[in-house]
Structures are given as structure tokens and as C-alpha cells.
Amino acid sequence: MTTELLRDTVVLSQRCLRHVLRSPDTIITTAVTPIAMLLLFVYVFGGAIEVGGGDYVDYLLPGILLITVASGVSYTAFRLFTDVSGGLFERFQSMPIARSAVLWGHVLTSLVANLVSVALVVLVAVAMGFRSGAGVLAWLAVLGLVVLFTLALTWLAVIPGLTARSVDGVSGFSYPLIFLPFISSAFVPTEGMPAPVEWFAEHQPVTSIVDTIRNLFAAQPVGATGWVALAWCVGLLVVAHTLAMATYRRRTT
């Protein structure tokens, strides 16, 4: 059963990746908005934002990476929705294959596509002067966090992909995700915010993840925040996966 799941997942991931390759604009579009934000905040607002020393682009990049993923997963929801509404999903479900491979194919494709978009954004940031003193281990830790965060949001995206009734409903779910980094330490330090907003910013997942990635890039110790970030990512992943699988099972009864 496990080897079958693996084999079918590989086949179906190849199919989804072919979709991405045939419309590379989805990767570009995913990267364009975050890159535009990067330019806007660094070259327009950045001069007026005080982040306590260092280049603003270094401060900003971690949050922009999370926004990239948040906007990228809406394409995953869209591709899954297309399969469901077009009947391909049911065709696969009525075939003698490992059934959940259909979902895993979309999830792995989402991971690959989002990592490519993230890499594009990092390259632009480097061109804009982003520099990191991080060693190999720190880079791997950043990669690990981004992967976990992407998987968590992807499983979240599976839910509207399975249940949405229209294309608009599919893309709508990602707006709050894209907005969340704005109320965090991603753009400005939280200290300047009014108390209730600061409290929210300090206790939502984005702040701890952004702070951890920022410290990893700066080759600074991550401390307890690193564990909080990891806990958020794993926790979100578990919850999103559970909800997505429950939604998936409800569809077939």
C-alpha cells in the first residue's frame, strides 16, 4: 500500500508539474507581487521605517518570503478545483490507485512551485543588496521552515480546492493569509503598534517565523523564538492536514 501510494504520487505529481511548466506564468505571477512589495517597501517606504540598524531589505525579506508562499498556494487550490469540477478527480477516485495520491500529487507540486517562486524572490532581493552571513546549517534551517510553512498552507488550500463552488471562491481564501504578515513584525517592529495590535502581532504565527528566519539570515542565535516558530509550523501543518483529510473523506460519503 505504501509503495503504491509513493508510485502513484510520483505519477500524479509529474502530471501536476507538467501543468505548472505549461503555464510558467503561475510561478512568475506568484513571485511578481512579493517582488513589487519588496521594491515598494525598500525604495519608497523603507527610508522612513526605522528597524534599528542594518539594511531594510535584510529586515523585510523573511516576511516577503511568507507572502510569496501565501499567494502561491492559491494556485494549488485552483488546480485542485479544476480537477474536481472537471471530473478528473472522480475519474482518479474510481480507479484502482492509492486514492490519497491524488491530493499528494497536488501538495508536492505546490511545494516545488512555491520553492521556485521563493528562490526567484531571494534572487531579486540579492540584486537589491540583500546579504546574509548565514552558514549552510542556517540556510537549511530557513529552507526547513519555509517547507513546513508551505506544506501547512498547501493543506489549508486543499480545503477550498475540494469544496469551492466557483473559481472566485477558490482564490478568495488566500487574501487573509497574504494580509496576516502586515500585522506582524514582517514590515515594521511590533513595538510601535497600539497595545492590542501589538499583542495580536506578537502572538500570531507570522511574527515568530519571520523573526526566526531573520535571525538565521543574520547569523544570530534564534533562541526560544525558533522553537515557537517550529511549533507554529508543525501545529498548523497537523491541523490543516487533519481538516483537509476530513473534508476529503466527507466528499466521498
Partner: protein, 274 residues
Amino acid sequence: MTTTPAIEITGLTKSYGDHVVLAGVDLTVPVGAVVALLGSNGAGKTTVVRILATLLRADGGTAAVHGHDVASRPQEVRESISLTGQFAAVDEVLTGRENLVLVATLRHLPDPRGIAEDLLARFALTEAAGRRVATYSGGMRRRLDIAMSLIGDPPVLFLDEPTTGLDPQSRIEVWRTVRELADGGTTVLLTTQYLDEAEQLADRIAILHGGRIIADGTLDELERLLPPATVEYVEKRPTLEEIFLAIVGDRPDRPDRPDRPSQTDRPDRAGGAR
């Protein structure tokens, strides 16, 4: 024959909230038969097919395909069936060939490419094989859809309204395909709301109405349910379909079943030769 029927449904029920869709459906389909499930829109034809294809769980009753219970042995059921749904379930981004290779690979068959080429030739899609399916016409999509369903030679085929939304020529092509399959021994359960389609294709016709099968038999048996026919002479007018096909002049062959007079030869039923 004493073999296990291809499909055996007993007392099948399904409701959505207060809305009863199936109120106890009984149906047996012998191996190799072509059975049409006839009913108006919303009669529950698709619900029956979805339950048989393990996509939906019934509330009560049992359904078995090739002796495997759909609820407890779904994987075995999926081994022996293929579903062609109401809308062509094809991948529009892939080419026709890639669609076929994908299904053959998922079914773990040797030489997926060879299988794809065979089916492309059989369904007259070789020329379009390298094009993305998004550029295909409705009839081509349906042909590809059915070709995908045939990969792995499943002994039981479900066709859910296979010709809804097709132009007359494509419809005739689909009919011809179904007849070929039936001749090859495949069991076919097809749902339709077109009476002539059931008449053309099916060995047996089951009428689903009010959540139950209210009639089940061969066309002759069903005809006997009506008062005996009186002989009347009526002027036979060509159907619009015949006129259309004659004018466009692109009429595919219509090999009708030898055991039954072809539709064009018989008096216009709707005209009331009763």
C-alpha cells in the same frame, strides 16, 4: 448462466437530508449485457452510478460489482470498473496522448505508450494526439474520455449520460463504440434520458422513477406492458436528425444490431403506431 451477475443491487437507498433520492433500488445486470438506466433529470441515475463506482456511500441496501461489495471491498470494485461521467473527465492541459499514457501508467500496465497509440488509432485521434485537449471538439473529448475508460480492459463500464451535449454525429460515434464494446463482452450500464438511445443500445432497459426501478426488461417485454398495438398506416416523415445528417453529407456508418430492425426502418414511434 449461473455465474455471478456483473452488477447486483438490492434495496439501495440514499437521501440528502429530507430529500429521498433512492428509495430501494433493485437491479441485476448479467455479465456481458448492456443495460440502460432510463429516467428523467434528477431521478437518481447518477447517484446509482456514483455508488457503484465507489464514489458515494449508500444509506442502506447492498450493491456488488463482480461479486465485490462496493462498501466493504471498494478497491476490488475499482479493479473491475471504469467510469465515464456526465462530463468528459480529461486533462485539458495535457495532450490526448499524454492523457492516455497517464491512465495506463496509473493502472500499472506495461507499455503505456503502445496502449495509447492503439487507442488513439481506434478512436480516430492519432492526428490530434500531440495537441492539447483544450483544443479538442466536444466529440473528440468524449472519444478520448471513453478511450481513457477502456484502458486496462475493465469488464464493467459505467457510462453516465454518454451523449448528453454531443452533436448528432458524435452521438452516433459513441453509440458505435458502445456496440463494439458490447460485442467484445464488456458489461455496460449506461444512464440516459434519451429514449431512442436506450432503444438503440440496450439489451435491457430499467426505468428509474420515484427512487425505484418501476420497470425492467427487454424492449419487447416493456412493449408488452402496453395495450396491444393496432395496425395503422402512418406517413413516415424523416426525423430532423436524418435530415441534418443527409444535408451535411458526413454520415458515419450505423451498423445496427442484427437482432433488431434499425431505427430508420421502423415506423415513427412518436407518431403513435399503436
